[in-house]
Amino acid sequence: MEKALIFKEWVKTRMVFFISLALAVCVALYAVLMMKRLIELKGVDHLWLIMLLKDNSFIDIIKYVPLVIGLALGVAQMAPEMAQKRLKLTLHLPYPQGKLVGLMLLTGLVELLVIFVIQALIIGIYDASVLPSELVWRVMLTTLPWYFAGFTAYLFVTSICLEGTWARRVILALLGIAVLMIFFLQPALEAYNGMMLIILITTLLLTILSFGSIARFKEGRQD
């Protein structure tokens, strides 16, 4: 049953998964190419100087990519359930509901994780070839909250899509926008290091929203 459920989620999301993966890879390669171009024109020491003196990580272009991918994957996975009234059918499957929703979310989160890891690896491997480990970690730690913004966007979108009433959808959307803004308030490098544990716990707790939306849907709270 689990395999069939995962396959169902994969069928729904594979198109968006591959488009998102291509987008993530292209943007990461673009960031790498920009660094390579700078090195060829001005030398690698110029890259180091800008990183150290101007607090530039050269990867600002990927900042909102995880957020967009999280939104897209959430919509691709959950919108058909509601638009085509498939959720009722899904909930009637002979499988525990909690596990069912958990498996759906897990599929989406793993897909996001794969995309984010591949993008981070492209940047990390290139940076490691031209920069010392201290600066590579500095860059990667700076990107971490952006990737968590992607997971957060996904979890809010799934809960909004699974919610049956428009009033609650609006509340969830406003909360989601406000929470996502927090991830982009401070542009300084490694600014979120001290907040990573709070971000991690909050992201884990946000999975509850989708379970809550399903519970409300089952109670018949629909417009």
């Binding site: 030398g43 690698v44 020491d45 180091w48 100087l49 990183m51 150290l52 003196l53 909690g98 070839s129 031209v130 920069l131 010392p132 201290e134 600066l135 500095r138 909250p145 509340i171 909360l175 406000a178 929470v179 927090i182 308030l185 401070q186 300084a188 490098l189 490694e190 600014a191 979120y192 290091n193 001290g194 907040m195 709070i198 707790l205 946000l206 509850i208 929203l209 379970f211 809550g212 939306s213 519970a215 409300r216 709270r221």
Partner: protein, 413 residues
């Protein structure tokens, strides 16, 4: 699960509104405070204040020794004559620049050569610093300074130099610097450091560094070889922050603060650490700016509560005069204390970190909190909620006020 969902929704609502409502309020009711310009006159030995009042007119007046405003005011032309170290170009244009002031021979060249401005913001030190440090060559072969080609880092108790071009460790230089760090007794980890990495300066003094024991060191690279000196200081001085200076007058090496919030100047000659009588200064919370000229220094310290100026003699740093101004709350800020029991923010003007900070706790808001809790109590009774739920939500509103009231009223289930 449904209970957890509702609790999470309310908790998120409280967090978001605690941040968003005060921010929205500050946008709707903006407050701005501008500090007057304060300088010390070597002509009449008074602090001269130039301040734009509420009527948008510039008022120029002097202060007595206690920092109180003296009767009368000055015109801009009179101010030019009282502050020749600042307005010497105006005086030159009017052919009114004297040859000597306070027994010191002056001229445009003397003014220019002896003046500098220093500024240190809390944001400059309250941030995550990279753990590799650029090292310039202080004695370049071609005289003109060049951009650095190497960085160093501390690894396994050793100093490691890395060539930026190859990203490889430079063994010889690493060993020489490690040896001198050990000889001078530098204790890792480094507590603070300061360097001015740019080739657009008259000369390079490398780094001022503070080790784990609070001792102060001066380090630079001369012709590829290490130079390192430990600054002699009283044991009671535990250095916290350093700021290197490479000014044209070549007299000072840096500004230093200790853990007791005292401020010092480090003179180049003999590495003399001299206390500055400017009161307690916390560089992590207060902005420091120093305007130095041939006659005096004016040290300005700006904190969240107010601003204070201290004029010091240029030669021996004794205090000449001081003046302070406390910021007052605007009507909208006072009103906010009656609306919001606290404020949540994730960023601050004094640092480069993102983290939740609960500030501006106000007991005045308890009145509104009580009213909102009573309204919530009545509404929940009408909605037929169970007693424990009504009690819990009323208490939450009593504590979090308007931030809890709005989500508790909106989220109906």
């Amino acid at each position: 699960m449904k209970k957890a969902y509702n609790i999470l929704l309310i908790a998120l609502g409280i967090v978001v509104l605690s941040w968003f409502l005060p921010w929205l309020y500050s946008i709707v009711f903006p407050t701005a405070a501008s500090d007057p310009f304060v300088a010390y006159s070597p002509v009449n030995d008074r602090m001269i204040v130039s301040e734009t009042g509420d009527d948008k007119n510039l008022a120029i007046y002097s202060l007595d020794a206690d920092g109180n405003r003296e009767d009368g005011s000055y015109t801009k032309e009179q101010r030019d004559s009282l502050l020749p170290q600042i307005y010497y170009t105006q005086l030159m244009a009017r052919e009114a620049l004297p040859d000597t002031i306070a027994g010191i021979e002056v001229g445009v060249a003397a003014f220019k050569h002896s003046q500098w401005v220093f500024s240190a913001l809390p944001r400059d030190i309250n941030k995550v610093m990279p753990e590799v440090y650029l090292m310039m060559e202080s004695m370049p072969a071609r005289i003109d300074l060049e951009d650095p080609k190497e960085v160093f880092r501390f690894r396994d108790g050793k100093v490691e130099f890395i060539d930026m071009e190859t990203n490889a460790v430079i063994e010889g230089r690493s060993k020489r610097f490690t040896d001198i760090f050990n000889e001078r007794g530098f204790a890792l980890p480094m507590r603070a450091y300061s360097a001015n990495i740019t080739s657009r300066k008259p000369y390079d003094e490398g780094y001022l560094m503070v080790d784990a024991n609070g001792d102060l060191y001066h380090t630079k690279m001369q012709a590829g070889r290490p130079y390192m000196m430990k600054v002699n200081k009283p044991d009671s001085v535990n250095v916290a922050h350093v700021y290197i200076m490479e000014n044209i007058d070549n007299r000072h090496l840096g500004i230093v603060s200790d853990e007791n919030h005292n401020l010092y100047v480090l003179e180049r000659a003999g590495y003399r650490l001299i206390p500055l009588p400017v009161g307690k200064v916390d560089p992590e919370k207060e902005k420091i700016s120093i305007v130095k000229n041939i006659f005096n220094w004016v040290v300005k310290v700006t904190g969240p509560e107010g601003v204070r100026w201290t004029a010091l003699d240029s030669d021996d740093y004794h205090r000449l005069a001081s003046y302070s101004k406390t910021y007052t709350e605007s009507a909208s800020q006072k009103a906010a204390t009656y609306i919001f029991p606290y404020e949540l923010s994730f960023t601050s003007v004094s640092d480069c970190y993102a983290s939740p900070r609960f500030e501006y706790f106000s007991w005045h808001a308890i009145f509104l909190n009580v009213v909102l809790a009573v309204i919530l109590f009545v509404v929940y009774r009408r909605r037929g909620r169970v007693a424990p739920c009504i009690a819990a939500c009323s208490v939450i509103t009593l504590i979090f006020g308007i931030f809890a009231f709005i989500p508790l009223i909106i989220v109906k289930n």
